[in-house]
Symmetry: C2
Subunit: 445 residues, 2 copies
Amino acid sequence: MIEDKDMVVRDEVRKMKLVAPLVAALSNETRCAALSKIAEKLVEKQSEIFAENKKDLEYAEQAGVAAPIVKRLKFDEGKLRDVVAGINQLITLEDPIGKVTLDRELDEGLRLTRVTCPIGVIGVIFEARPDALVQISSLCIRSGNCPVLKGGKETTYTNRILFGIIYDAVKEAGFPDGCMLQVEQHNEIDELLTCDGLVDLLIPRGSNAFVRYIMDNTHIPVMGHADGVCHIYVDSKADIEKAISIIIDAKTQYTAACNAVETLLIQRDDVLKKNFIPRLITALAENGIKLRGTKEVTDLVDAYYENESKDGSLDYESVDESDFKEYLALIVSAKFVDNVDEAIDHINLHGSHHTDAIITEDDATAERFMQLVDSAGVYQNCSTRFADGFRYGFGAEVGISTSKIHARGPVGLEGLVTYKYKLVGKGQIVGDYATGKSAFHFKDL
Amino acid sequence: MIEDKDMVVRDEVRKMKLVAPLVAALSNETRCAALSKIAEKLVEKQSEIFAENKKDLEYAEQAGVAAPIVKRLKFDEGKLRDVVAGINQLITLEDPIGKVTLDRELDEGLRLTRVTCPIGVIGVIFEARPDALVQISSLCIRSGNCPVLKGGKETTYTNRILFGIIYDAVKEAGFPDGCMLQVEQHNEIDELLTCDGLVDLLIPRGSNAFVRYIMDNTHIPVMGHADGVCHIYVDSKADIEKAISIIIDAKTQYTAACNAVETLLIQRDDVLKKNFIPRLITALAENGIKLRGTKEVTDLVDAYYENESKDGSLDYESVDESDFKEYLALIVSAKFVDNVDEAIDHINLHGSHHTDAIITEDDATAERFMQLVDSAGVYQNCSTRFADGFRYGFGAEVGISTSKIHARGPVGLEGLVTYKYKLVGKGQIVGDYATGKSAFHFKDL
């Protein structure tokens, strides 16, 4: 299905390294015009795109790919509408490039400015979702970065035509040759990993094992998350109906997502045991969610079923809390904690610093939780599934970062920007400041 | 000299992980009060500090440590005055923590805020300079972070008393137990490197080989630079006297610094060849700087000495430009380039993205250079030695970053800060937005 290609990634990336500053210097107008042109051409060429996408879908069906995955491969009118809307939203956002974030006179005639600029060459390795290619490219173009794109092989035909359309559009808008690169072979990922000094940032999207592989095999900085173990803490002051509705949404609305809930922490409170646990048991059972609880939790389930019908009963098992993990499936862990502080410590030690929620009507407890939980997202009374660039109003995201370095949480335009310091003088030398002949006066302008 | 200690770093750091959120929640007043108390106690206990420092100095002299290094180990009244001034400057800086950088209503009753917060647990491994311990600790305290400090072994006694004074001061000010940690054994560095998931960031300071060793042997994010190959480009429109004075300062003012110049790029221009090269030859010779130039450069030196006295002549050799490197010594590389664009490409491909300067009176050329050179610092008509946290008015620095991710250039308080997203709702679930029952309205507040 994929044709052989020479191993030329390094050469191409080396050229891109010199093109990147030219792209960084393009005006906001040029970058926005490129995006408009992309949106225009995608609509214009939709039947060709759909035809290429059909090849990928047929190939996937022949290969016996599971139906839910085939659905993600599809690029239809709905997906086209969504990506075009995303591009148009990106155009309306404030330019992230060229912002002066510091303007300081160090001394008479010696002026320091700090100006935001693109990161440069960004390698993005993403799952087989054609809309992801458009979103990631658009974010890079809006922020003046040069992307090296490697999509999932199941959408090779679709990726190829989408990339061609986007590349043609940006060149028509005035972008230089070599400002974008698509690689198609899996072994080219390994070649890309050796390009430290040329590639400024890698953004891998995919399984934990894949992200870990990338991190372990390159000297290039990597932005990404390897885990999404999200918690919901149900406080004794929780509104029980909100708690149930949020837990079910956070577990079932998109089970395979990194922001789906994996662990429930429940305050050890008699009222919750009496009123919340039975509601939780029936809600989990109704939604086909398996419960892996500590013995204290499953004893309550046992007690519940002593009095209740076992029809449509809950699938549950007793496990040690050291066995709690990321399921990405209709399974949830649960344990009791004494109070919000025990919940906080559990999350900070065992969580993945992604997104964690408290359900409580007590705002002081919520504030304590949100202050002390050390995660990219800390929520009160809403679903962990809200952790997403679109839902935060960022237009799109290149990924969600659980690192605390650089970008945290959903990463939109701001995460694709760095800065440089510019210093303009009249011949000043440091020796004069060291000897006291001159002195700094640090005036912010 | 150093006593044996159990390998307990991991246990201590694990405790610190749970203490870090409490430190992050301390008020600006408490953090500033801690700094004032440190300054006060350092002055109060100065004779004890100097006595401990004397032990380190005596030990170094017995061990035959070179005089310039012994000088760096010294902690005297001048150094004390400097660190106290640095602490007092830090107190006056704006609080970097708790800044709301986004406040957005996603929908009625669903409010997203982004708030700056400390990074958490930061491991800093630094050279044998007692003032570095005070500066790094102060930056961490001001920004609400918990430092794990490993200083050079040559200042063990001084570090120990300084750490003790600082730790007592912050605890008196209301910081919790375990908010700071000092490790003394070299093998404890390796233990620290295994603490991914507990330590949020490592900042190694030291040789290229050392920083590279750290990067290659940990999964913890590392902030630092491995190289400082700084360039000065002398444009045909340069003021020659400024050029000479800046080059000499950038090479000699502190030769071992990462912001010292290593490579000169000179425009291939007849006037420069005639007027600048002879001035450069004599200035380099006068300052004992060896020139490693391409043949085109050394041919001009040869020609010069055909007519001039060889007394006090320049030490020079002809080398291939692929042999240019970081010297950290009184040696400088030089080559000719056709124009600013060739200089830019050379710097972007061969530089270390640290600090690079252009010497020119032509502001348009300077602007092009500063736009297109992809370095943390891009300078016009001043010495590369200005790249420093103090000289930028940051109060202090924990290091200089040549990475474009997170922090770039001299890293002060802002580089020790991350953010979290807080989302407060009334029971909202994502399912309602997916089905269209609810819709986002994204109002910035």
